[in-house]
């Protein structure tokens, strides 16, 4: 089988922040009772992480667990490990009421890094992105201009953003426009 091709196919832009295609990434929608010990154990087994709290992201080595709603997580893993990870979840949750489904190809996945990253997102998303309000480990489902998007911030100051695949180009172009030089706002110190 040929290599998977993302909607952005490795696109990258450097302005007041760096916008880049994060490449093919394994993503699994897991719906279930997030408070149950079974789901907790299954997530631990599948991606090695705990259940994230409300609007939180937990990141591991090549994996992540993201809080999407009171009964939904988005789990991330390497692209070629999705089937295996879903099989682990299926096995661990056998007999439970749950849904684990591959959505790796349904999304565009981008990284926004550099000094202007917070400002770039604050131009497009109605989210308080000041450092005291949006800290590493926080996850937010929101609106980016005219499309739904979700992002979290890691300890290194990089934002990881997912949106639907079909609007990957639109999302990249939005972020690029917001990151054009001369667009520094200068409010986050």
């Amino acid at each position: 089988m040929a290599e998977p091709v993302t909607a952005l196919n490795g696109a990258r832009f450097e302005g007041i922040a760096t916008i880049e295609d994060a490449g093919p990434t394994g993503m699994i929608t897991l719906r279930g009772d997030l408070a149950s010990k079974e789901v907790k154990a299954a997530v631990k087994k599948a991606v090695g992480l705990d259940i994230p709290g409300q609007r939180a992201a937990l990141g591991g080595k090549e994996t992540a667990a993201l809080w999407m709603s009171p009964d939904e997580l988005l789990l991330m893993c390497p692209y070629d490990k999705v089937a295996e990870t879903i099989a682990t979840l299926d096995a661990a949750l056998e007999g439970q009421h749950f849904l684990a489904v591959n959505v790796s190809d349904a999304r565009s996945f981008l990284r926004i890094s550099g000094g202007g990253a917070r400002e770039v997102l604050a131009k497009l998303c109605p989210v308080d992105l000041s450092p005291d309000a949006f800290a590493p480990g926080m996850f937010r489902r929101t609106r980016m201009a005219q499309v739904p998007a979700a992002f979290w911030l890691d300890e290194g100051g990089t934002f990881h953003l997912v949106c639907f695949r079909s609007v990957g180009e639109y999302a990249f172009n939005l972020l690029k426009t917001a990151a054009l030089s001369g667009g520094e706002v200068g409010v986050y110190g």
């Binding site: 089988m1 040929a2 849904l99 591959n102 190809d105 349904a106 400002e119 309000a133 639109y170």
Partner: protein, 1002 residues
């Protein structure tokens, strides 16, 4: 004539010059100038012509309230009309032109209107142009449109960029004068997160011009120190050139930042719209001086006293050698004192108050200035500029006592707090008798969700008086705002100097008994040419409501929204109606405070970012291969793929013929795909669809209909059962999101205890329809798996590997041919497409677009959501009883379909239509019936829902909803066309092609 003084101008960098042009004439100014100050420095008093009478007009004010000095700014794609010269910062290369003049500013033909002024009173157009009726459309309107309008429309192709910025703070302080600075400091010192915005490029407002001391230091030093202090605080954000444009519900406010207006062509965005969510908003928006209403108060050279002072102090500009000051309050004496100290002449101060002024009057008198108490201006002399004034007793009717030669008149009718932002979201006003102005009513602020006030006025915007009063009031407002957001206020207000003033005296008309001829020249609203006489006429004609009077006279309309004229106008209206001013009230204050650019509202949403365009993984191929796209929701789907010189129609015919004869492929990736899983999934599916889904076996597919709770058909598609617990629902392209939402709504609100989860996986898969007699053969070339008729029967699905890619293959057919749909992970969609194109080349494979798909389904008599349905059609109308389970107790829409109107046998039903002449019926055409209805229209008995030319049959085919249609096979209906003709069509079976399904079952 106005000129630049040898010294002075605290905002200027006199060491550098900037070149600009006005009406093509080259002029020079300095960095720090506004366009208005630079024009005045060049002796250019005349800046525009008025809207209605084309009267010569000069600048009146020095700030955002300016009604007259509106110019067209910039050139080409950067041209913008109606820009206020007073708020336009000068830059090198600025190009400005005056407006509303023809042929030139100096000699204007339209100025003849002014001589007919007595024939153009309020409501003139309404009265004049109403008869005879037909003249309005053909004679009057074109004429009025020609002469109306201020400024020219901008040119398309704005090269600049604009953006939004979302910001959150505890306390937003609007206005960077001393009040705003102190409020911000008080809130910030309490620990609140503070944002302070100022519309000009300068901090401190007009305090440096007016003078005074804070804690024993000149106010200017205090401003600098406070800014330095605020800049050092990590919890404070400061923005200049950022106007508080509007206040909305729940502490939402808009800030309009003119980032690069003064540096055109730089790489910065031109405007940035701040979308601010604040816990509390402090409006330290200052006050605006009011003009006085005397005859000739619009002649260039008559200006607000504060503006005359500003131009002298801030920009080193004198309006004329001799300035007569006319006032009803003490503040205007500051102008006289300032000018006198600069060595200019003040022939007289005319104080309308019989008892005169206080300490400032004494100071002026000590400087040797002549002061006339109880006097006013009977009339200003001059045409394009002031040459003198006739003075009179304010108490009289305007008999001239004396004429005084002068070049400028500095007038002051008192000050009105800027209450716009306070009022935007419902803050109420009270009338302050002593100051004769409206100010915020502290008992009735704009209120938030808990009923708490969320806007606090501060300083002169709250009616506070001198520096001491302003600082105390602003400090209290800043602390109160911080406290309301949970911070802990501390510290005292700094001590501002007190400057006691004698009481002002309201003067709404000068002289108070001015006769008609004087009132006819006493302007209230400069921008709209509304005079005292117009408002009085409106009152006489019964316009008692201030809102009606506004619209009738145009008082307070257009770009300045009556910032100078409103109070004077409603005072005149109140007087004419014989009622107190508060009873008349004000017109409604609406955002924005001053006009903001439409581009700033659009923000990033222009050009490539105008709207999201959804793209399938194969979009690149379609674009590279000449697809002719059509919008389907936010997708762009290939309508067809024309080759060479081919038109749309030929391309569609070719694609259909090729598919029916051999092999065609369709990008079906946009179809909605929703996973429904859980122990109750079958039960849920039975409720969602009209037919029985729970009995579907894993590995099998079933076509289903979905209705809303009113029984109307809303979506259709093929359901595949993936396993015992799991269904995959295909929806229409447009229905993917809404049907997923529909499912979640029922699960979350009604059937919350059912064990079902859904997931929208539409974009996970690239889907390709492979259709035609050779479709199996081409797939077999790419797979080792068995997809023979025995292994994969019609309406079955299975998992295979095709071109090395894991895929689901659904044996379903919308084209009516032997047909498969291949579904692969989207990241491999393009690879699959390429493999199919390559493997299919021996069968002459062609992609087909949405139109070929539509025609082929119509040939087969398949319905299309949105064509055969329009939100009022039920499955029974489409003779689809076969898809409605009779075994089920319930499904969404079942009870609604049993209502008498839904079960009415006279509902129009679906049939095929075959034209007698072989042509294609017009889309949406109606079949006429005998007689006329109550409105005199022809009765109708059916309508066309789908119509195409069928290349397969070589003639037009159509479907339509017809009264008793299925019982009338063979009858001929008449369809009138828009050009008056009639097309006859026979009622036939809707399946035109392969009725027995031999091809799709092959």
């Amino acid at each position: 004539m106005s000129t630049r003084l040898a010294t002075g101008g605290r905002r200027l960098d006199r060491g550098r010059a900037q070149e600009f042009t006005f009406n093509g004439k080259r002029m020079q100014g300095h960095p720090g100038d506004t366009l208005a100050s630079a024009l005045l420095a060049n002796g250019q008093m005349l800046m525009g012509r008025s809207f209605k009478y084309h009267r010569p007009r000069g600048v009146v004010a020095s700030g955002a309230e300016e009604p007259n000095a509106l110019v067209g700014l910039g050139e080409g794609t950067r041209f913008e009309p109606n820009q206020r010269a007073t708020t336009t910062e000068l830059f090198d290369g600025l190009v400005a032109v005056s407006q509303n003049h023809w042929p030139s500013l100096e000699t204007d033909i339209g100025a003849v209107n002014t001589h007919f002024a007595r024939f153009l009173p309020a409501g003139f157009y309404y009265k004049m142009f109403i008869h005879p009726r037909p003249f309005w459309k053909h004679v009057y309107e074109p004429f009025i449109r020609q002469s109306a309008g201020l400024g020219k429309a901008p040119n398309p192709g704005d090269p600049d960029r604009y953006e939004h910025f979302y910001y959150f703070c505890d306390v937003l302080v609007v206005g960077g004068g001393v009040a705003g600075l102190q409020s911000a400091l008080a809130a910030a010192e309490a620990g609140a997160k503070v944002m302070l915005i100022e519309q000009t490029a300068h901090w401190g407002g007009r305090a440096p011009v007016d003078g005074g001391e804070v804690d024993g230091h000149p106010v200017e030093d205090w401003i600098d120190a406070t800014i330095a202090k605020l800049q050092d605080m990590p919890n404070v954000t400061l923005r200049t050139r950022c106007m508080g444009a509007g206040v909305y519900d729940h502490g939402y406010a808009l800030g309009y930042e003119r980032v690069a207006d003064h540096t055109p062509g730089s790489d910065a965005p031109r405007h940035r719209l701040w979308r601010i969510r604040a816990g509390q908003i402090v409006t330290a928006t200052g006050a605006i001086e009011r003009p006085l209403s005397f005859a000739g108060n619009d002649i260039p050279g008559v200006m607000l006293a504060s503006a005359v002072r500003d131009y002298a102090v801030d920009y080193g500009v004198s309006i004329g050698d001799r300035t007569v000051v006319v006032t009803n309050n003490d503040d205007a004496y500051r102008t006289a004192i300032t000018l006198k100290k600069l060595g200019l002449e003040i022939p007289a101060i005319l104080d309308a108050r019989q008892q005169g002024g206080g300490a400032l009057a004494e100071e002026a008198r000590a400087l040797g200035i002549r002061i006339e108490n109880g006097k006013g201006i009977a009339k200003v002399k001059g045409g394009k500029h002031v040459t003198g004034v006739a003075i009179c007793a304010q108490a009289g009717e305007g008999a001239a006592l004396e004429e005084i030669a002068c070049e400028a008149v500095a007038m002051s009718g008192g000050w009105s707090p800027v209450v716009h932002l306070w009022s935007h979201c419902g803050g109420k006003l009270i009338w302050d008798e002593a100051q004769a102005h409206f100010r915020p009513d502290p008992e009735n602020p704009p209120r938030g969700a808990q009923g708490e006030g969320f806007v606090l006025p501060a300083g002169s915007a709250n009616g506070a008086g001198d520096l001491a009063g302003v600082l105390n009031d602003a400090h209290a407002a800043g602390q109160a705002a911080a406290k309301a957001t949970g911070a802990k206020p501390k510290g005292k207000a700094p001590q501002g100097s007190a400057s006691p003033e004698a009481p002002m005296q309201p003067v709404w008309l000068m002289p108070q008994g001015a006769g008609y001829k004087l009132r006819l020249k006493a302007w209230l609203d400069y921008q709209n040419d509304v005079k005292v006489s117009d408002v009085q006429l409106a009152a006489r004609e019964g316009y008692e409501s201030v809102e009606h009077a506004k619209r009738y006279t145009t008082l307070g309309m257009a770009t300045d929204q009556g910032k100078l004229s409103n109070i004077n106008g409603l005072a005149i209206l109140s007087d004419a109606l014989g009622q107190p001013i508060p009873q008349t009230g004000t017109t409604t204050f609406r955002p924005p405070y001053t006009p903001i650019s439409l581009s700033s509202i659009a923000g990033e949403a222009t050009k490539a970012n105008f709207q999201p365009i959804r793209k399938t993984p194969m979009q690149g191929w379609h674009e590279a291969n000449g697809a002719d796209f059509e919008p389907v929701g936010q997708w762009r789907r290939p309508y067809c793929f024309p080759k060479g010189e081919e038109g749309r129609h030929e391309a569609v015919n070719r694609e259909i013929t090729q598919t029916r004869d051999s092999l065609g492929v369709l990008d079906a990736s946009t179809l909605g795909k929703i996973i429904v899983k859980g122990p109750d999934a079958g039960r849920f599916m039975d409720m969602l669809y009209t037919n029985m889904m729970s009995t579907l076996k894993p590995g099998r597919c079933r076509y289903g209909l979905m209705c809303n709770e009113n029984g109307f058909l809303m979506d259709d598609g093929v359901v595949a059962r993936l396993d015992e617990d799991t269904f995959l629902c295909h929806t229409t392209t447009g229905g993917a999101e809404s049907i997923h939402g529909h499912m979640e709504e029922w699960l979350q609100t009604e059937w919350w205890d059912w064990k079902v989860y859904t997931a929208n996986v539409t974009e996970q898969y690239a889907q390709v329809g492979v259709a035609g007699p050779n479709s199996r053969k081409v797939i077999e070339k790419l797979t080792d798996d068995d997809i023979s008729a025995d292994a994969l029967a019609f309406m079955g699905w299975t998992g295979i590997t095709v071109a090395g890619i894991p895929a689901r293959v659904f044996r379903i057919s919308f084209a009516g041919e032997l047909s498969f749909e291949l579904s692969v992970p989207a990241s491999h969609g393009r690879a699959l497409w390429d493999a199919l194109m390559e493997a299919g080349s021996e069968y002459g494979v062609m992609p087909y677009g949405t139109e070929a798909m539509h025609v082929m389904r119509a040939e087969k008599g398949f319905i299309m959501i949105g064509d055969e349905t329009d939100g009022t059609v039920i499955p029974q109308d489409l003779n689809m009883q076969w898809a409605i389970s009779k075994k089920k107790e319930d499904y969404l829409g079942k009870r609604a379909q049993e209502r008498s109107h839904m079960a009415d046998p006279n509902r129009w039903k679906l049939v095929g239509l075959e034209t007698l002449d072989g042509s294609a019926l017009p889309d949406g055409a109606y079949a006429t019936a005998e007689g006329h209805n109550a409105n005199g229209q022809r009765n109708v008995q059916g309508r066309v829902t789908s119509t195409y030319h069928s290349p397969t049959l070589g003639r037009g085919i159509a479907m339509g909803l017809v009264l008793h249609g299925p019982n009338r096979m063979g009858e001929v209906l008449e369809f009138p066309t828009v050009d008056g003709g009639i097309i006859k069509a026979k009622i036939v079976d809707q399946v035109f092609y392969d009725k027995d399904g031999e091809k799709q079952n092959g």
